[in-house]
């Protein structure tokens, strides 16, 4: 890793976010084992640098569209851990009042548009959000996160073309963790260089080592600046890796243990803190401080979720459509 030139405060913040996400995800795994969280659960462990580097370059009124592997994005967008945890516990205090679960986190306050469990499903939504901004004369960015697997979907193609054709303010963030469930990129794409694919729409591309939080942040900043400057959509590829199985159902038989170990050596959290330590910007004490902060946050979130009431069954039919108003 290259020497870090950020001020210490900022470095600490980056470590903090990566650490809290890591701990959050570990807790989710545990709670899943205990049957508190159910359904499909996709963890972000190993990929933290991507969201932590990319999300904070956005402004509060920018929009974010993500996937079913989106706890980190929700946290970074500013959603409280407790409402996310409560959501996964299926409680009325969850961000979606228990209707969404892990794959469908949403938050209107921070313009966090989910939480989409259809691979590629968020891409055209991002295009439309950006179109609305353009038509209403607002300079906002819509950041759209998706995996390498989504690139094979037709809707990727259609969305990239629409965004590029109409020069819309979208930042397409591809979290390339090299696998879509059990399918390695090379078994899914004839062209594995995803920037080449994006460039075929005439879209500017950026690439960053997704295990290096600083590199991610710089690439995201550059891309977001371009978008904000009105230079149309940008594509950013982050090469990363998930340490855990695809979901809690996945026996993970398709990857070499050696490959996983190799990537773990490049872990985003320790490689960054190691570098900071070498530069004298970070100490064990700092780490311990952040650990207890993460623990406190989690404890509070879990207690909140545990203690919350379930949504009344009587409200099952609520929010299918708007409550009927008088006559139109």
């Amino acid at each position: 890793m290259n020497p870090v030139t950020y001020p210490r405060e900022q470095c600490l913040e980056l470590v903090w976010q990566m650490l809290r996400i890591r701990r959050f995800e570990e807790a989710c795994a545990q709670l899943y084992g205990e049957g508190k969280i159910r359904g499909f659960l996709h963890l972000y462990i190993g990929e933290e640098a991507v969201a932590v580097g990319a999300l904070p370059v956005l402004q509060p009124d920018d929009a974010v569209v993500a996937t079913y592997r989106e706890h980190a994005h929700a946290l970074l967008r500013g959603m409280p851990a407790r409402t996310i945890m409560a959501e996964m516990f299926g409680k009325s205090t969850g961000c979606c009042r228990g209707r969404g679960g892990s794959m469908h986190l949403f938050d209107a306050a921070t313009r966090f548009y989910g939480g989409n469990a259809i691979v590629g499903g968020g891409l055209p939504m991002a295009v439309g959000l950006a179109l609305a901004d353009r038509m209403q004369g607002r300079t906002r960015v819509t950041a759209c996160f998706f995996g390498d697997g989504a690139v094979a979907e037709g809707v990727f193609h259609e969305s990239m073309n629409l965004a590029a054709l109409w020069k819309l303010p979208v930042m397409f963030c591809c979290e390339n963790n090299l696998y879509a469930m059990g399918t390695a990129l090379a078994r899914s794409e004839s062209q594995t260089d995803l920037c080449i694919k994006a460039a075929s729409y005439g879209m500017p591309t950026h690439r960053a080592d997704g295990m290096d939080v600083v590199a991610v942040r710089e690439a995201a900043l550059a891309a977001a600046d371009e978008v904000r400057a009105g230079r149309g959509p940008q594509f950013v590829e982050f090469r990363t890796y998930r340490y855990r199985a695809h979901s809690m159902y996945d026996p993970d038989l398709y990857r070499d243990k050696a490959e996983i170990e190799e990537w773990k050596k490049r872990g985003p959290l320790h490689s960054f803190t190691d570098q900071l330590k070498r530069q004298g910007l970070f100490s064990e004490a700092d780490f311990e401080g952040l650990e207890s902060r993460a623990e406190a946050e989690l404890k509070e979130a879990i207690a909140f979720a545990e203690g919350s009431a379930p949504e009344p069954v009587a409200d099952l039919y609520k929010d299918v459509r708007a409550a009927e108003v008088s006559a139109s």
Partner: protein, 330 residues
């Protein structure tokens, strides 16, 4: 006397008015602009409103319907045109998995005020890939409101209230209606909640919608000459169904024929029959009958296509048979 205009012109008027009244409204779809709309509905609007608001799209049904969803979330009121219901299959994922689900899935935080218009139906010899009627599929989906304007007035008047909805609305325009002329009162206004009785009658109720309304009305004239007075219900709103209007009519006539161009099995007609079963069984003097499209991919040849569709003679015949059925023991 009110002026007579075509359904196409009425729909165009509705679009124009909506575009004028609300700056958030825009029209997006394949060839809605330079070409003027594949059924010429939006002809002239590009010149009037410009390419941002009359937005031609590439051939990317899934993409631009999804973009419509996003634009709705972003504060616009998009009207997305899909050329034909057959092509809407390419966009169903976005419509069902996102547009219809988002409000519930997000616990009420997000909603999608999107209007999707599409042509539907057969009768123009366009064969199996351009002639389906899948209204019933859309009417199956919670979260959607589904409209089927069958008259010139409804073509003009249903769009604006649809745009006032906070959630997605699908509008089906039967391709055979575009050239139909009818009277048009200025600014009549329409509700998008209720079915309407287009013709009162005492002997049987004929429930129908969209492209079948005119053949049904044609049949009732013939039936009237034979002394059979049919009450005709134009559903107008396919989801949610207006059970009250249907059942009130059943209580008057005790016999029901449903005419629906869709393939019979799993048609909207089935749902209506099932509801009458549940809500008005003891009012029935005879089993509810359905007259539907033949369960075949719609063929090209005119005589085959006509044979596949419910047409006036078959409607007359079905109504006569229904009225001829002996009532249940009193």
């Amino acid at each position: 006397m009110s002026p007579r205009v075509t359904y196409r012109d009425a729909m165009r008027e509705a679009l124009r008015e909506a575009l004028q009244r609300d700056p958030r409204v825009f029209l997006m779809g394949e060839d809605v602009g330079m070409y003027g709309g594949s059924y010429a509905v939006s002809k002239g609007l590009l010149a009037e409103f410009g390419p941002e608001r009359i937005r031609d799209t590439p051939l990317s049904e899934l993409g631009f319907v999804g973009a419509g969803i996003g634009a709705a979330l972003g504060g616009m009121r998009p009207i997305v045109e899909i050329m034909t219901v057959n092509f809407s299959l390419l966009a169903l994922d976005q419509l069902v998995n996102t547009a219809a689900s988002l409000r519930h899935m997000s616990g009420g935080q997000f909603h999608v005020p999107l209007v999707v218009r599409m042509a539907t139906g057969a009768g123009r010899q366009l064969a199996a890939q351009h002639s389906h009627s899948l209204e019933g599929w859309y009417a199956h989906v919670p979260g959607l409101r589904v409209l089927a304007p069958a008259t010139v007035e409804d073509a003009r008047d249903m769009l604006w209230p649809a745009l006032q909805e906070e959630d997605p609305v699908i509008i089906f325009e039967h391709a055979l209606l575009y050239n139909v002329e009818g009277p048009l009162e200025p600014g009549a206004g329409a509700d998008i909640r209720h079915a309407r009785i287009r013709r009162p009658g005492r002997d049987l109720t004929v429930v129908t919608f969209g492209g079948m309304l005119n053949p049904v009305l044609g049949a009732t004239e013939e039936l009237a000459r034979a002394g059979i007075e049919a009450e005709v219900i134009d559903l107008r709103v396919l989801r949610p169904l207006d059970d009250a209007t249907i059942c009130a009519s059943v209580r008057r006539t005790h016999r029901v024929l449903i005419v629906d161009e869709e393939w019979r099995s799993g048609s909207l007609a089935a749902e209506i029959s099932a509801r009458i079963m549940e809500q008005a069984f003891f009012e029935l003097d005879a089993p509810v009958q359905r007259l539907c499209g033949a369960e075949v991919p719609v063929p090209y040849a005119r005589h085959l296509e006509e044979a596949a569709l419910p047409r006036t003679p078959a409607i007359v015949e079905a109504a006569r048979r229904l009225v001829g059925v002996a009532g249940a023991a009193p």
